[in-house]
Structure formats: C-alpha cells, structure tokens
C-alpha cells in the first residue's frame, strides 16, 4: 500500500510538471500575455501599396506598440489594399484625422504601421476609416526613380 502511494505521488508530480511546462510555454513563451482580444477596436485604412506588411504586424504610435494588423484584403473596386488594425481598448483617444504610414523597422527589418495623431475633435471608433495614408516605400522603385532622374539630368560637367 505504501509503495502504491509513492507511485501515485510521483505520477501526480509528473502530470503536474507536464501541465506546468505547458503553462510556461503558453504564458512565458507565447504571445498569450499580449493578446487582449475583446476589449480592442478595429480601424480600417486603405493603402496603394503595403509592401511586406503581414497579419499580426505591429501598429505603433511614437514607437509604442498599441495594436496589430488583424486582416489584410484587397478592394478590387478601388484597387487599394485594405488593412484592418486592431487597437487596444485603452488607447481609444486618437483624433479622427490620424494618419497611417507603412514603415520598415531598420533597413531590412519587419514592416509596421505607424500612426500619427492629428488634431480633430472626434476620436477614432470601432469601424472608422483612416483617410490619410502613406504607402510603403519599395526600395526597387526608389532606386529606379533615382537612376531615371540621374539619366535625365543634362550630361557633361
């Protein structure tokens, strides 16, 4: 009976340890602590070009992460990319005329959306659309523009 008891205790410890490891993976390793779905609100923005933006890319204001990209779609009527952003509920006081730009973190880093607050009286709400947007900068376009400008300059001296 006594041996049976120690056996049951070790098995109990094993199962508890396994579940604790799963909990560690969920809480400490994954993004569970950063997910606060439900109390956020969605805002839509249209871009000509979103570059390498992906779902779950960060949305930042002044470098602070305040939400993430929840969905990316393409509007075939206006030929624009439609990006849905989920912003955290506690950041609910952005003016209506806030502008959104697609930037790159570092030279080769991941892309993110940067919001720039405007000065309007009304705040962004669930479902509002950001009208002022700036597309991603595509390096190839930049280089070709630069070369084109160079070539069209008058030659000689």
């Amino acid at each position: 009976m006594r041996q049976n008891k120690t056996l049951e205790i070790t098995v109990g410890l094993f199962i508890a340890g396994g579940l604790a490891a799963l909990l560690v993976l969920a809480m400490k390793v994954s993004n569970l602590t950063q997910l606060n779905q439900g109390d956020g609100y969605n805002v839509v923005a249209r871009f000509e070009n979103i570059g390498g933006l992906k779902v779950r890319s960060p949305v930042k204001v002044g470098g602070v992460r305040i939400g993430r990209v929840a969905g990316i779609d393409y509007d075939t009527e206006r030929y624009q990319a439609v990006v849905t952003m989920q912003l955290e509920g506690k950041y609910n006081q952005f003016p209506d005329d806030t502008s959104a730009s697609v930037y790159t973190a570092g030279l080769l880093g991941e892309q993110y959306i940067a919001l720039e607050p405007g000065g309007a009286e009304d705040y962004l709400q669930q479902g509002s659309e950001i009208d002022i947007t700036q597309s991603a900068v595509i390096i190839e376009q930049l280089i070709s523009k630069f070369l084109f400008n160079k070539a069209s300059e008058p030659s000689g001296e």
Partner: protein, 257 residues
C-alpha cells in the same frame, strides 16, 4: 516467376499485418472505458512509461536547448541579430525539436520496453493464461499501456520544450551575454499560442499515438520466441522512428504552409 510470387507474398503479408494492426488498435480503444474505471492500472503504466522517461527527457531537452543557443548565436551574431536568439530557440523547440526528439526518445526508452514486456508475456504464455481465466488481455494489459503512452507523450514533449528554452536562456543570456529582456520579449512577440504551441502539442499527441500503437502492437504480434521478441523490439524502434519523422513532415506541411 519466383520473384513475382515472393513479391505478392510479402505484399499480402504487409496488408495482413496492417489489417491486424488496425483491428488491434480498435480493440485497444474499445478497452479504454474499462481502464478509466480502474485507474490504478493506468497509474502504474504512467509511472513506468512517463515518470521513468522523465530523466532522459529533461537532460536531452536541456542540452538540445543549450546547443541550439550556441549554434544560433554563432550565425545570428554575423548579422548583428543576437537579440533574436530567443525566437530561434523557442520556435525550433516548440515546433519541431520538442515533439520529434521526444518522440524518438520515447520510442527508444518506453516503446522498446513496452514491446519487450508484452512480447515476453506472450512468449511465457501469460496472455493465454489470462484468457483462460476469462480476463481479456487487451483490456487488462494493452489498453492501459496505450492510454498511458498517449497521455505521457504530450506532457514529456512540453517538458522537453520548456526545459530546452531555459537551457537556451542559460547559455544565451548567462554565458554569451544576450540581453535578457530581448530574449524573452522577442520570443513573446514571435511565438503564437495557436500557430506554434498548440500545433506542437497536436504533433506530440500524434507521435504519442503512433509510437504507443506500434509498441503495443509489435509486442502483441511478436513471434513468441526469444528471437521473435528481440526482432519485434528492434522493429518497434525502427518503425516508430520512421513513423515519427515521416508524420512530422506531413504535419509540418499541413500546419505551417
């Protein structure tokens, strides 16, 4: 003509065995409710399959995580991206190495023991003896072992991944000097609960299912001689390893497209 005949023979044998394996799996699953009514059988098997595998899992997980951190650091420092070390370690552990290496170790440590035990029971006619006493050997012997393997494997894989991430933390932060905050925060921003962790758990459940199935079936299907048991044990380890690696490719292709 002869080789065609032998080809046909081995083909038939293969499908016969496959059929026996599936009928056997069905019977083992049907025995699970009666195991749940007598949990003491399950606890004893959880001890010998899960608890006794714990040491090798802990040590291997720790060292795999530490080696990943060392190797990852060497490559990442070329690009000045040492801060991503946590992401590298966590994603490779949770997605691939945790379930796969645990599956391989599980097949070697617990699967071979299961096959040898059941095969020897068959060779010494303990299984026939049970049937004589109107005790169903599948319910009494096989189902608890199968269920214990199925429960142990995801827990072992989770322990493996968690201890590996801490091993990587030890080497990366304490030895190589990666910033501690960057190690965890980059990890948390890149590892997704559903995409990475849940899929890893699903993988480990699938591997546990396959390894436990192969182990108990090979034991039950072994030729009841000492040579037959030894061959069955070898087959368990080889087939489990191949099944884990093959299944891992399929699951990875389905999960992370």
């Amino acid at each position: 003509m002869n080789w065609i005949q032998s080809l046909g023979q081995s083909g038939l044998e293969f499908f016969e065995k496959l059929g026996r394996a599936h009928i056997f799996l069905w019977q083992a699953l049907a025995g699970i409710p009666s195991v749940l009514r007598r949990p003491s059988l399950l606890v004893a098997q959880l001890y010998s399959i899960g608890v006794l595998s714990l040491l090798i899992i802990l040590v291997s997980g720790l060292f795999v995580g530490m080696v990943l951190a060392l190797q990852g650091y060497n490559t990442l420092s070329d690009f000045g991206a040492e801060e991503s070390l946590g992401v590298v370690v966590a994603l490779s552990m949770v997605r691939e190495l945790g379930p796969v290496i645990t599956g391989l170790l599980f097949a070697g440590r617990a699967g071979s023991a299961l096959t040898a035990e059941i095969g020897l029971m068959k060779a010494t006619e303990q299984l026939s003896g049970m049937e004589m006493m109107a005790v169903d050997p599948i319910r009494r012997v096989i189902s608890p072992r199968f269920l214990a393997g199925l429960i142990s494997m995801p827990l072992l894989a989770a322990i493996f991944s968690a201890i590996g991430i801490y091993g990587g933390y030890f080497v990366g932060v304490d030895v190589l000097g990666v910033d501690e905050g960057a190690y965890w925060s980059q990890m948390q921003s890149k590892v997704d609960l559903y995409e990475d962790i849940f899929n890893g758990v699903i993988k480990s459940i699938a591997f546990g299912w396959v390894c436990a199935w192969i182990a108990v079936f090979e034991g039950y299907d072994a030729i009841p001689t000492s040579e037959g048991v030894s061959r069955a044990t070898t087959r368990t380890v080889v087939h489990s390893a191949l099944a884990v690696l093959g299944l891992d490719f399929v699951l990875t292709a389905l999960m992370f497209d």
